[in-house]
Each structure stands twice: as C-alpha cells, then as structure tokens.
Symmetry: C2
Subunit: 378 residues, 2 copies
C-alpha cells in the first residue's frame, strides 16, 4: 500500500457482475493496479485464465489485471481503494469478510450503497473492532451503464457525468475526492451519507412498477417495455406518493433530496407536466424490457436494501410511510420472505442508540457516537 | 301492506342496474306486485313509459310493473319487502332516505350487503329513530348472473341454486325465510350477518388482481382475461394471504367462513393443487375480461365496502391485516380517495360501543345492545 498521496492508487474490485467487470476493466485500461475478486470462481474463470478484461462500447481495449481471485484477503491486501460493486444484498456478507482485515488507511467505496449501505458496513466493522477507524464511501448511483457479454468481454454504454459520493465520516469526503479525482473526476461531494442514501432513486423506480405489473410480468414473461408500457398514470401516482414519503424523511434528516421528477429533468433532461409524462419523455427508458419473472433485483435488492431502510428510518423519526410499507408487504408475500424483518434496519445501520436527528447527523459527520452525556450520568 | 302471512308478498326493488332490473323483471314475471325505484329517472324512462321489463336468457317474458319511480317514498309505501340491489357504496344514501319512512313490518333485503351492509343500514335507521324495530336481511351474493341490454331488456345468464341470507337480528332469519320461501326458495339461513359479511368472496377476488394488474389494465385498456391471464402465481399468493386475514377475523367472530379455494370447489366444482390452479380450472371465469380502466366497481365498491370493514373489524379485535391494508392504501392513492377514512368502519356499523366478541354476537342475534351493565354503574 502506498501511503504517499501522489503515488498511483491501487484497487480491489469486489464483485464480478457487469458493474464490477466494467469498473475493473476501465481502471486496468487506465493503467491502474487492479485485483478482481468474486465469491464464486466459476464466474471469473475465463478472466483468471486470460488475465484481462476486454472493454467495448464507450471504452475499447484490454485491461490487464494484477490478480483474479476468490480469496478476498488476497484481493484487498495492500490496495488503496476497495471498490464494492455488488447488489446491496451482498454488502453484509462482504462487510463481515473484510472487517477483520481492512486497515484504517484503505477506502471502501460502495458503488452504489443503496440506502444505508455505508452505515451498515461501518456498523459491521465496528462490531469486529470498535476502535478501528475506517473510511467508507457511498456512491449515490452506478457510474457506468453496462452489460456483460460472453467470456472476458463487457460493454459500456455510457458513463455518468457526475456521481455524488459521501464518506462516512463526512469529514473525510473531501480528502477522498482529492485522492480519487484523477481516476474518477465524476465523483463530487455530497453532504453526508444520509444525502446519498435518501437520494436513492432506484428505490422509487424499481419495486413499484414491478409489483403493480406483477400479473403482466408473470403472464407474458415480461414482454413489454418496463417504463414505457409499465408506468401508467395510476402507477406513477403510487410512485409519487412513495417519493413524497422519502422526501419527508430526507427533509427531517436535513439533507437535500430531489424528487424523482426533478431527478429525471436533471439527469436525463426529461420533462413533463406529470411524472408519468416525464418518464415517457425519458429517451433512455425506451426499449428497456420488463424483468422476465418476479425473481428480479428490482425486488430482492431494492425492497430490503432500499425501501426497508427508508421505512425503518421513517418509524425511527415518527414519519409514516404507508405507501412504501404496502409495497414491502406485497413483495414479502410474493417472495415468501419477511423483508420487514430481514431488510436493512436502523439497528443494522448502528443508529438504534441515536434517538434524535442531531445525534444521527453528528454521527455521520464524525463517525463517532458522542457518549459524553452517558459519561456525565455515570 | 298485507299483514296476513299467507297473502302474496309485494316488493319494492331499489336500484335499476342490471341486478335490480333482473330481480324486478323476475318477480313481476312471477306475478308479484313490484315497484321499481331508481335515483335518476333517465335510467328508467323506457321502463316507465312501457310499464314492463323484458327478460331473456334463463327466463323469458314480460314482467309488468306496478310502479316505476324516482320517488323512494312512493316506491316503498305499503310493500312487504324492500329489495336493495345496488352497489354497496349506495347503501348509506338509501338507508338515510328510507330511515324515516320504513315501517317495522317491512323487510329490507340487501342483495348483496358486502361486508357490514346490514349493520350499517340498521345503524343509520337507529340514528333516525332509536326505538324503531326493523328487520334487515343480508344476502351473501347476488342471486342472478345477468347483464342489462338496451331499452327495457335484461338477460339472465344463470341463477344460483343457493344464496345464504341472514336477518339482523338473526332471531328473525327463519321467519323471513318462511315468508320468502315461495318467492326465493334459493335463500337458505346463515348463522348471522357476521357470517354473510365475512364470507364476502368478492372482497378477495376483485380488488387484488385489479390493483396488481393496474399497469396492464391502463396500458391495454383491459384487453386480457381478468382471471385467466390476470391471476398469476404471485397474485394468487397475495390473495391467499388476504384470505387468511379474513378467515382469522371470521374465526374470532365464531362464524364459519370458507376459504376462497374451498368456495371455488363448492360453488363451481373447480379444483386444483393451488388457488391459482383452481382459478384456472373455473370454467365460468374463462372469457371474462378485465375492466377497461381503474374506475371500476372492483375497486370503488369492493375496497370501501368490503376490505375496509374487514380491516377495521380486524383492528377492533386486535388482528393485523397488513395485506388487506396494503391494497386499501394503494387503492386510495390510485383513486385519490382516503378509503380508510371514507370506507365502512366499525363506527358506521354501530359496533364501536361493543368491545368484546360476545357483545358483538349478542347484538347481531338480538338487534339490541345490552346496556344492563351501564345501568348498574348509573
């Protein structure tokens, strides 16, 4: 590990799905040292054998990898940045794996964290070692739009111009951005991880149209356009109500969250009188198919790691989220899993001891729980 | 009004939708005196002009009417039986209209009552006159499968072999069945109105597939088979969970309620390993189209007058109904109406002062609220 600020950063990429392959290939193509880890060796055996990832699309060429492994300890040893590019449902597993071995001068970047990803990660690491200082960075969305192809190939369709990130603790955000800037100039500072977590737009866009098109998905195996045919005025009204609940919580947490409609306008330059109209005017959504069945990440990732933490934060702050809760309930029945129970909750995020908004904000800024009052009482 | 038990009964039919026209035409064809009322004169102007209803299908011929009117007082004056054949959402309006004029020797028959129809009706009449004794009869389902045609014509596709009914108070059920038997031998006694109310199968079959196919209904204007394409395994699992909540409440109320799957087997001789399979094997459901848009009785009748009273009874008895509540919440957003607030609740049914199951059961049997304990305290 190079502690010199001016040396070239080295990376471990955790997860070899399409997103992980794209980031690993991109970094390697740019000449960085990259270790690629995946839990199952099967998924990376071609890459391991050939030693590189081949990019097509916006970026073209071979990215040679330093190490391809299913041994996480070897993957992260001595690297500067650990990029976790996994469905949020895998965060808990990875956090438990790396907790004993991560060092205080490594950055852990969740790309993305969904809602409460960095908080859960830090909480798990703290349970292993309460005094270990770690810097966990949460990205609000994925950097690349990409799709994995056969063998060692991955196609990058697009790269976002800007991705908001925040460190936990937030006092380290600028330091991180300074160090990563040459690699990812797209990363810009968000106020704190509450801001990245409560601007989780996927939480609004994924589960609701899936659940409210559940009959059509199963009856037609998803042969319709997910957004264009699937988001009708009634579905848009349910999304808007869930979005309103999310925004109420964000406001209480004193972070700037933008509505889905504002986000479409900002991100895709898509406008409309109604949310439904704006979605229909989102060029990039045309041609995107619905999932072929209900075993989709739109539910099994976005319900437990996005809607449940939003709902549970609502409960913690006495803000009702009946619309979000309805979707969690229906998803729980459809997947025969109690997502309210197994999803990411306040306790998983280590916030159960913090009863006021100011205590929560203080924690995400400093990474420390202020125990002074407890001290006074003792 | 003929008080002689052996004279021929006379009827008022309230509501001239397809069900009301079918019942009025059927009774008139059988030679009974029938007055037909409808709130809007427009709907009955052809019948008023010609003076009869013409039946086709299972029953054929002209049924001459005694009176066709939009004056409810004239319609019900001196008749023995007032048949209310309306969407349950209109019960409140009709109850308020007839409360001052109905007499204690008239039967009011709700055909059907959905959940809590008779209780709400009686509660409204009691508010007008606390000591007036009335006998309100709740039918569990519609007697006829029918569709109105142009002008004075209505087609009856089928007549059920059995329709369960109960009087409120239940001590009058047998007397009613004895008197109506020659007219409607299909009516058989149910234990009490809790049994007819909590065997409301439409509550399970109507709102859930509509809400969970909401995208497809709006995107295709309902061009798919409602049950056959619309009820997929995931939707069936949501229906089963809601059905389980309904059965838990019925059990607590000590009434026999049968599951939807048992009901399909009993009513249509349709079987299957799963509920989904049994629905697919229900011959009568093939060819039934989905509603063309979300402004459908499947939602605006079945949510406020079926799901809300079930949910509110659950709350009253400390039984959670999270699945039913999810559907009410989504329906409320889609219809921009707070159905939790405006639907039929415990207070509307006059049960808010009755805190135990035994008090509720005593009330539906006797029609009297036992105030002896209050008397003792005073």
């Amino acid at each position: 590990m190079k502690n010199n600020l001016y040396s070239k950063l080295s990376f471990a990429v955790i997860g070899a799905g399409s997103g992980g392959k794209a980031i690993a290939g991109y970094l390697a193509l740019k000449g960085y040292t990259v270790n690629l880890y995946n839990r199952s060796i099967e998924r990376i055996k071609d890459i391991k054998q050939k030693g590189y990832i081949n990019l097509t699309g916006c970026f073209e060429g071979r990215g040679p990898l330093n190490l391809v492994t299913n041994n996480i300890e070897r993957a992260i040893k001595n690297v500067d940045v650990i990029m976790v590019v996994l469905p949020a449902s895998a965060h808990k597993f990875v956090a438990n794996k790396i907790a004993p071995i991560v060092t205080s001068n490594q950055y852990i970047v969740l790309n993305p964290g969904r809602t409460g990803g960095a908080l859960e990660f830090k909480n798990i690491i703290s349970k292993h070692n309460p005094i270990k200082e770690v810097c966990i960075v949460e990205a609000q969305t994925l950097l690349f739009a990409c799709r994995e192809l056969h063998d060692v190939n991955v196609k990058i369709f697009g790269k976002k111009n800007e991705v908001k990130v925040s460190a936990l603790p937030a006092i380290k955000t600028n330091e991180f951005i300074g160090r990563i800037n040459k690699v990812f100039p797209e990363f810009t500072a968000s106020k704190n991880v509450l801001e990245t977590s409560f601007n989780n737009i996927g939480a609004m866009l994924h589960p609701i149209p899936t659940i409210l098109n559940c009959g059509r998905i199963e009856n037609t195996h998803g042969s319709f356009q997910y957004y264009i045919d699937g988001v009708t005025p009634s579905i848009a009204s349910v999304i808007e109500q869930a979005d309103y609940e999310r925004l109420m919580i964000a406001r209480k947490l004193k972070v700037k969250a933008i509505s889905l409609k504002e986000w479409l306008s900002y991100t895709y330059d898509a406008h409309g009188k109604t949310l439904c109209e704006a979605l229909m005017n989102t060029h990039g959504y045309h041609g995107i198919s619905a999932p072929p069945n209900m075993q989709t990440r739109y539910v099994f990732e976005d319900v437990p790691q996005s809607l449940v933490p939003i709902s549970d934060m609502g409960k913690h702050l006495c803000i009702n989220t009946p619309t979000i809760d309805s979707i969690i309930q229906l998803a729980s029945i459809i997947h025969n899993t109690d997502y309210f129970k197994y999803g990411r909750k306040i306790a998983d995020m280590g916030l159960d001891r913090l009863s006021t908004v100011d205590e929560i904000i203080d924690y995400v800024i400093t990474g420390q729980i202020d125990t002074s009052e407890e001290g006074v009482v003792a």
